[in-house]
Amino acid sequence: MSQNVEPFKGLKKLNRKLAKLHHILKRDINISTVSTPTNNLVLCNSGLVNGLTEDQVFEHFSKHGEISNITMLPGKSCCFVSFSKKDSATSAYECFNGKLNISQNNRPVYLSFVEEVPKPSIEVIWNELPPGLLVFKNFISTEEELNLLKLIDFNHEQCGLLKHRLVKHFGFEFRYDINNVDKNQPLDQSVPTETDFLWLKLAQIQPEFKGFKPDQLTVNHYAPGQGIPHHIDTHSAFEDPIICLSLGSSIVMEFKKDGTHTCVLLPQRSLLVMSGESRYDWTHGIVPRKFDIIKTKLGGYTCLKRTTRVSFTFRKVLSTGKCECFYRSKCDSFLNCNIEEKMAVQLEKMHVHKVYDNIANHFSNTRHKPWPNVMDFVQSFDSGDFLVDVGCGNGKYLSNNTHTFEIGCDRSANLIEICRNRKFEAFLTDCLSIPIRDNCIDGVISIAVIHHLANESRRLQAIQEIVRILKKGGKALIYVWAHEQVKNKQKSSYIMQDRKNRKGTKEMNGQCLTSAQQVSLDSGNITLPVHSNRSNFQADDLLVPWKLKGDEEENESVFLRFYHVFKEHELEELCLKVENVRILKSYYDQGNWCVLFQKM
């Protein structure tokens, strides 16, 4: 018994409280408590939903003996702790029941004995390495460790601060905004030669990594309590393997794939090699906390207090920028690959043409305001000139100019009908085969059209058609959606608009949660990321939802439009592939890449 004997009144209140909690346990997770001591205790009123963590449970309960298991249930306000010995459980029960203030708002926790502990839905596996993962303990000596630590001066102004974690890059800067390196901008400081001995050593132990010579090093400085969110190193950015040296402190790194969750201890001075499946298909991360709870080989838990850890992550930049792995669901190169012709045709049919026909009226109602730069171009032509708007939509740019002859064309019958009702001259066509004679048009605009074509050869063909119909000396202006929605720290109007319209409390952080959608087409299936509206793009080829509200609030339908978003210079390079093109102007306008060219 504890030193302070509870007064009789208090005990009665405690029993009433416990009876109520036992009832909830039985109802919620079908667990019955027992009055005689067992090895297992349930914390009846505190769990993950109350903010209680595994390490807090460990911190207090391990004082009473060896813990064999801690079970935290997602979304529950209870958790379980199991001891190797019944005496330890009894001791913890007597000491803590109604007295240990670790429940929400520092309220006391209420305990009971249970015969059985429920199994969590995702079980954490210990010390079982994902395929392709290697951990070499004591890879370097304490002396080598000290020498390496001396290489990095974290007080230098060149260090970046990431959520309080200090970072320093060598060779190339790893940019966390694009999850990639800028290959064209190597840093002054390359990977220090003092680290070369690591690769000789590695080649001796593991000959398959002979020849690994990193050209990029990221040094992270983790104070106790700091971690790193789960992630996969961008496939197209780096080669296989990725290698990480742990200095200063041991740490537990977690690996996850689908429903599997495994914890791996990275001892101080160990070398971690992530290759194959572990590099491409598993996420890795470090939980931010001050100590790790480690499951021992005997099945018990021990606690490992974290001290300052410095990790050296070595990577080799993938020079081709194109990953060729088989782990396609996680592979940005695969997800952004050039879509095969047959697939492209069907994708455009289902996810561009059909969608525009369905949303034509709503689309037209949201497209009133012409862009000033496009208007200036349209109005720059002489009297009697012929202008063609390829992909004219609702005719926003037609008939602004009474001294020229303007023809609109579009792929959507419903949009062309809107043009016709507005008394504009327009016809139905595909931009890949414009039914207009060669060399007879003075000016062409194609605004927000070519990004709907699903592969590069089709996008090129669209530009070739524009050039073909242009007269020698004729000019064209092309707008396409930009991959870069934030330029010179200025968010594009596309992202800004949402700020104004957004209601509620959800915070905008410029990041998007990309989900993927499998599109079934006659020629097969293709998986494309679905963009969350008003955020930065995370892939080149993607589906962008268009929400169409019905008469009733709940009758909302969502249409997915295919887009290829253009990277900087991509449109210029495409235009220059066509003969007789001279670029007059290339610029960024409201989240679009724009090229003004002349036919020579």
Partner: protein, 124 residues
């Protein structure tokens, strides 16, 4: 579809068709609707168009108004002539009918004034 548009339309995008110009017009409904007359515009447009093609198209629709078979000289100040041409270029509209490729015979329907120039996948 206005005859000025017809003047630049071709079916050469069809696989196997080399020129595809001019397209024949078969109309079941032709409308003449008033468009503001701008003599300067008409005068500037004339050198850009194929006169014969315009003449044949207008004649087939019965709207040539006895204009000359060849583009006359010094028309810039001939308001009467420009007005007639203005009517042919911009006011005469095919509302219902079809355009026919002179080489392949492929028909492109015109409905509600809109020419449907879309081709099937196997035609390109």
């Amino acid at each position: 579809m206005k005859l000025l548009t017809h003047n630049v339309l071709t079916s050469k995008c069809i696989r196997g068709v080399t020129v595809g110009y001019p397209l024949l017009i078969k109309a079941t409904n032709v409308k003449v609707s008033e468009v503001e007359f701008k003599p300067d515009f008409v005068a500037k447009v004339l050198p850009k168009i194929e006169w014969d093609v315009l003449a044949n198209a207008a004649e087939s629709l019965g709207h040539w108004q006895n204009l000359p078979k060849e583009l006359p000289n010094n028309y810039e100040n001939d308001t009467d002539f420009l007005k007639k041409i203005h009517r042919v270029l911009l006011e005469v509209e095919v509302i219902q009918g079809e355009l026919i490729c002179p080489e392949s015979g492929r028909k492109f329907p015109i409905t509600n004034g809109i020419a449907n120039m879309l081709l099937n996948e196997d035609e390109v």
